[in-house]
Amino acid sequence: MTKGNIRILDGVDLVVEPGTFLALIGPSGAGKSTLLGLLAGLEAPDEGVVEKDGVPITNTGHVAYMPQTDLLLPWRSVVANVSLGLEATGTSRRAARRQALAALERFGLEEFALVPPAALSGGMRSRVALLRTALLGRDTLLLDEPFGALDALTRRHLQGWLLGIAGELAATIVLVTHDVDEALLLADRVVVLTRRPARVALDLPVDLGRPRAMEMETTREFARLKGRLLEALGVSAP
């Protein structure tokens, strides 16, 4: 994959098994977002193929994709923002709103349904953006640094929240992050990309078992996996 003569991805060979939570980490500008764009069908590769269930991805609309910024529309209330994806794909406004409201209720956010997004905190905006994407009901969910813009404490809260509900959102999840702890906490498998042009530097299964809890971050096994990830990222382990 080349963008404006810069080779961004170079022979990334990756198979994501259905039902897996995969985390992609790598240095800034390594091409993680480009890879998600390819998976979402937003961009086409110069060489090679991107397939889903054995069928080449040539179009958008097959997976659910959440970009780095929440992109909530200021002229829509929270519930109308959550229903945006469904309305965009042709669900009637009423049916889409009903489903959006049900989703907000399921995740305990119904009190914010009629609030404009400007009144929400950063963490709440991210939750709404995630629900908007998840409501599409697609089997694969692509998350591009969903909590990257949040402060550390809020990010911890949302990581815990996502850990609890990930199973309900989609079968297969690909999460781009540069937070090593986030990757280990959430994922079944962590793939480390190299600097541009990106290749796979490390493909690490996370054998921490489920259900997971944040307390696991203090275990020896967690530290060992974290050491390997940091090493692969070129950051020397302590």
Binding site: A40, N59, T60, Y65, P67, L71, P116
Partner: protein, 256 residues
């Protein structure tokens, strides 16, 4: 809310009272003749005396202004969308729209009357010529300002071009559009009067020409005041419409 509205309007009202009082007393003090500069009381008197005549002629002027303005909004928005959608339209049409704005509309008006007669049509056209350009520019800028990431998000959903336009681009352009519309609405009354000056048998512009010729200067001032009131009312109407249609556009702009 009421309090802030009052405190916002109060300085302007106080200034108006001061200026009117100074005007009245200077005219009275120096004995300025009415045909040069009538005082506010004389203008108000002329207004009251000729109220039926003035209101009868205000009707056509307001009608031309509003109709021409409405056509300008529709044409301005449509041409803006066309220019935004098509690179060919942008390259071929946009430069000529700019050129059309450098032609003095005041000079075109007589030609329009020659072509289209003394009815309301040439006046409506003059108003449209006065008003449409700011709306076109605002629409182009507003659509161009759409966050590309938002379009990407909509594409990832699998949304059609029409849905991307109607759900994201068009509402996002509304703050810009209303900026252009507020600017344009202040021109529309001027456009109608210019159209009437050139050739008409009714309207406040027609009345002004007659009153000037007959030295009915207080009534001439009354007509100018009425035109101003008309323009301000239309501006407030647009502001009210914006508050109803697109309230989120006012959040960061409390000056309205």
């Amino acid at each position: 809310m009421k309090r802030t509205l009052l405190s916002r309007a109060l300085p302007a009202a106080l200034l108006a009272v001061l200026v009117l009082a100074a005007w009245e007393s200077l005219v009275w003090l120096f004995g300025v003749p009415e045909f040069l500069l009538p005082g506010p009381s004389a203008i108000a008197g002329a207004f009251w005396e000729s109220r039926e005549l003035l209101l009868r002629h205000a009707g056509p002027t307001a009608g031309e202004a509003v109709l021409g303005f409405f056509v300008a909004v529709v044409m301005g928005a449509l041409s803006g969308i066309l220019i935004n959608r098509s690179a060919l339209a942008e390259r071929s049409l946009y430069p000529w729209l700019v050129v059309s704005q450098t032609l003095p509309t005041v000079a075109i008006a007589p030609i329009l009357v020659t072509w289209l007669g003394y009815g309301p049509l040439p006046k409506v056209l003059v108003v449209t010529l006065f008003c449409f350009f700011p709306i076109t520019v605002a629409t182009v800028d507003g659509l161009r300002a759409t966050d590309p990431d938002l379009v990407r998000l909509m594409r990832s959903f699998g949304a059609s071009r029409w849905r991307i336009f109607s759900m994201v681009e068009a509402p996002g352009a509304l703050p810009f559009l209303f900026g252009g519309v507020r600017l344009a609405v202040t021109y529309c009354v001027i456009g109608a009067v210019v159209g009437e000056w050139v050739g008409s048998s009714e309207g406040l512009g027609f009345l002004m020409i007659q009153d000037k010729a007959q030295f009915e200067i207080p009534r001439l001032f009354a007509e100018i005041s009425l035109l101003s009131i008309m323009g301000v009312s239309l501006f407030l109407l647009v502001a009210l419409l914006q508050r109803i249609i697109a309230p989120w556009t006012l959040k960061r702009n409390p000056s309205l």
